[in-house]
């Protein structure tokens, strides 16, 4: 019964400036720490997600799971919210012999999607994150774990014209307001777009 009671951080808030910003609702997320050099670790990740370990600052997007590089010993695994517990269990089982940590962090996060003209989406992001958003420096398969103005955040672009952004749940309203104001009509930069 608990599914019906679920409340994401902002209940799907959205805004339409020169880029659309929307909160995406609950998303399964798992923090996975371990030794990337261990064959057993990589094998367990691949067995559960179907994906190989992503390289530094890369994200692998699969059919049922996405795996993002977070640090030299940390990954973020994204799956449907409903299948988090099963994935956590499968990873824990697969990593039984390894020194690793698997933690469900789905509820600790807020998840946003920016969409619109690809250059405009990049321009909005470039207002809040100290990252080179030019297409040659940041394309599909890239992820950055950095800050969104004053709060921690991470983002990747699954396809042109779309940016997925995550931050901590407690600052969801700040992050949303930040992205909403940064994409207000009149604030177009016209640099990357």
């Amino acid at each position: 019964m608990s599914e019906a009671l679920l409340q994401s951080a902002l209940n799907g808030a959205h805004s339409d400036g020169f880029v659309r910003v929307e909160e995406l609702g609950v998303q399964g997320m798992i923090t996975l720490r371990g030794d990337f050099a261990s064959a057993g670790f990589a094998a367990a990740v691949e067995k559960v997600t179907g994906l190989a370990l992503p390289a530094q600052r890369k994200i692998s997007i699969g059919e049922n799971a996405t795996v993002a590089w977070m640090s030299p010993d940390e990954l973020l695994v994204l799956v449907d919210y409903a299948s988090v517990d099963a994935t956590v269990a499968a990873l824990t089982e697969g990593l039984a012999g390894e020194h690793a940590l698997v933690a469900n962090v789905s509820d600790a996060r807020a998840f946003f999607r920016l969409s619109g003209d690809d250059g405009a989406v990049r321009d909005v992001m470039a207002k809040v994150a100290p990252v080179d958003f030019s297409p040659e420096a940041f394309g599909p398969g890239d992820i950055r774990r950095t800050r969104l103005a004053q709060v921690a955040g991470a983002f990747w672009s699954p396809e042109p014209g779309v940016m997925q952004v995550i931050c901590f749940r407690s600052v969801a309203q700040y992050a949303f307001d930040l992205l909403r104001i940064s994409s207000e009509t009149g604030g177009e930069v016209g640099h990357l777009g």
Partner: protein, 1004 residues
Amino acid sequence: MSTRLSSGGRLLNKGKQISFAFNGKQFQGFEGDTLASALLANDQMLVGRSFKYHRPRGIVASGAEEPNALVGLGMGSKFEPNQRATTTELFDGLNCTSQNHWPSLEFDIGAINNKMARFLPAGFYYKTFMAPRAAWKHLFEPIVRQSAGLGAAPKDRDADRYEHYYAFFDVVVIGGGVAGLQSALAAAKAGAKVLLMEQTAHWGGRAPVDGGSIDGAPVDDFIAAALAELKGMENVTLRTRMMGSGVYDHGYMLGYERLTDHTPDMAGPRHRLWRIRAKQIVTATGAIERPLSFAGNDIPGVMLAGALRDYVVNYGVSAGDRVVVVTNNDDAYRTALALKEHGLEVPVLLDARPEGAGALADEARAAGIRVENGKAIAKVQGGKRVTGVAICNQSGEGAVLEEIAADAVAMSGGWSPVVHLWSHCGGKLTWDDAQAHFRPDNSRPPLGADGQGFVKVAGAANGEFGLNAIMADATAVGIAAAEAAGITAATKLAAPAAESAAEANPAAVWLMPQGAGPALRMKAFLDYQNDVKVSDVMLAAQEGYESVEHTKRYTTLGMATDQGKLSNINGLATLAHSLNVDIPQVGTTTFRPPYTPISLGAIAGEARDEIFQPLRRTPIHDWHEEQGAFFEPVGHWRRPYCFPRKGETHAQAVSREINQTREALGLLDASTLGKIIVKGPDAGKFLDMLYTNMMSTLKPGKCRYGLMCNENGFLVDDGVVARIDEDTFLCHTTTGGADRIHGHMEDWLQCEWWDWKVYTANVTEEYAQIAVVGPKAREVLEKLGGMDVSKEGLKFMEWADGELAGIPVRAYRISFSGELSYEIAVPASLGRALWDKLLEAGAEFNVMPYGTEALHVMRAEKGFIMIGDETDGTVIPQDLNMQWAISKKKEDFLGKRAQMRTHMADPNRWKLVGLETLDGSVLPDGAYVPAGGTNANGQRNTQGRVTSTYHSPTLGKGIAMALVHNGPDRMGEVLEIPGTDGKTYKARICDPVFYDKDGEKQNV
């Protein structure tokens, strides 16, 4: 008088007239005007009063270097002081006022200072306001405050918004003149990703005004072609109205983009601060003309020769019908020729050089201009505007040879390369004796992390003044910048051939005439904005100021909002001359960002109003807001302090919440508590090091309270640790400690015990945590149903996973209030749902949510310490009588060694006790307990201080905790504690556990 000409005005759209107001007077200008050109077109020569002497001042320059024409721009929430008229684009409805005058610009009482000028010499403030001491506050300061300062501070909230923008380039070229355009082209053609920025709205810089030809065609053709080509290139970004504000380490630089200053009603941010990472920076910032130092060089109508030319050519505005030109270099001849060409009179051109100018002199003479070599201005005549000039020999002392009627003076003391951005990050300068200016020393550029230079200079900024030399330099620098950025050109752009008139070298003229006596020197201004004269710098030198930095501060030369753009070189040359040393020996003052003032809004960026600072919200925050909770900040969180009901004071609300919790049932949103998973084969060993007590012996399913110290022995955090399984612990931290303690853990794991097998994860926000507290706590949970929370099923200091009302939870049976208490952790997305269910189920017990104040009072009644109240970074567990929480079995833990040091083991350390007031009143927070006598500073000795103090509704009196010298040995003693309200409180030392010492209430 100054007026609009029928010719000239290349930047104007004469088809569009614009209205604006200056000091309430309505004027007309054209689209394309700057405020300065429009004021001149309306014969508004007088634009402000000077800072110190309140002398009448007019427009001197045509660009960012303008010292005089500062206005208060806009009204109310759009008001901004100290805006330069020369860089303010005219827009319809512009409203501005002049500054530093009272009661009016035309009649100013402060001008009396001018008559007193000889009593206001260099260092006046330092000399005058020394004694008597009391006079400063009551006499001097009010007067100085009244008379000092240029613009008024805005009173209203800024109506505009601002933003930052991060950008990355191979090569950033600052300055969109012909050199900047050519450098950008050269770098871009090599394949570099290039940003070219120009601070004005127009490309091409001075070249279209100065003339000459590139590839046999007028410079305008080159500019148009270069722009067209740059616009067509994918790898090039062009921005106008964007100033290179500062250059910093590692190729970081700021670009200040003014988006709506020229159309204030346009939507969008007003300014955008570009935070740029560049592999290479090219400064093509041109040069600034220097004034000449002669008596009366500040009278409205005396202008820089180049500026006068700009106003005629760019804006079709003349500063006067009869303009005397005075110069030490060839460039000013161009002004004379331009004036002539536009039908204005140049009665005489005074060239301070005995040998005069090169080819341009012939041109001038051919145009019928009277050119006098070796001549100078003895003084300018006039008050609020120029009426004439007295001419003398440059080599003499100022004996007047001739007086000539004139209504404007065009002066040129030579051109100084704009080296600011080159110098910001350490680029060095070299003195060019022939050109009499400082230019960048290209062998000593600002160095990046790799030890290589990351700034290059092109064109006039590099000390190159002939058009051909500029184009050659700009081309080479552009190519070199691309190469230094790691891009080698397949084909290198060739420099175009350019032609401009050959020029003779300027002469170094720092005073006019060179033998000017005191009377003339006192009217020869170096720094217009701060009223510093030649005589002031000479006096400073006489008084022993040899360092240019000291002289600057003593005389205030170059310390105004223009940062001495016109005055610095003249000032330091005057200082060198007075000290009888060479100019390079004196050197320059330090060039610091920003190049010209940038708005505070741009620096703050988007951070205002709702996104001024992130506000952290728990999953139950909205409910608290709906209830009208009174919030208190806890880190970036807002936690409910209490939930006042209608007509209730906060104190009444807190008492009600406590009473109901102790009697029946209370709920606390404890979601902000830190929660950190610590996992691995070495997790137990790790926690044994981190906590003072033993954690490795904790059994799965159990909880234990622990203290955490830093390596200096001081308490940094506390909380309950739950063992999840053999390898896994969950550590609760204080609200403020969550991120800090996680960082502390990672610090030790990554830097010291890197071979220990431990991983941590901060899962603070994964869970909402609700404390269900009070005698009815079990009943309400059983009502929700789903798991065993009975006395035996979930014992005190145990935890269990389960379900409540169908919601997955982890229940910890722990108590910070002394009551029967469960803390229920629930996935954050279900936090509000569980809260609502608890409220519903608790209704029959009259459940009441309680806030942080009730939490504090209840823990104090129980004698529980609070990190941040009983601790302040200097308190060790022993001070708090918590030896019971310090393991004696462990070989080591963080803080152990420190706590054995003599000062830490000293029996004289203040120790924790309880205090109860004799009359039931509440002790003042943070009050000190005085002891007899005074210390070395004459202050009363102290013997303790109050760390927590509350009214306890449970006990009906004031209770407190305090750290007191020998406290635990002084039970029953009455202390006298003075408050800040003049009262002295009496309190008895007692056990800090005021309530249910045996813990019977929580063990049910």
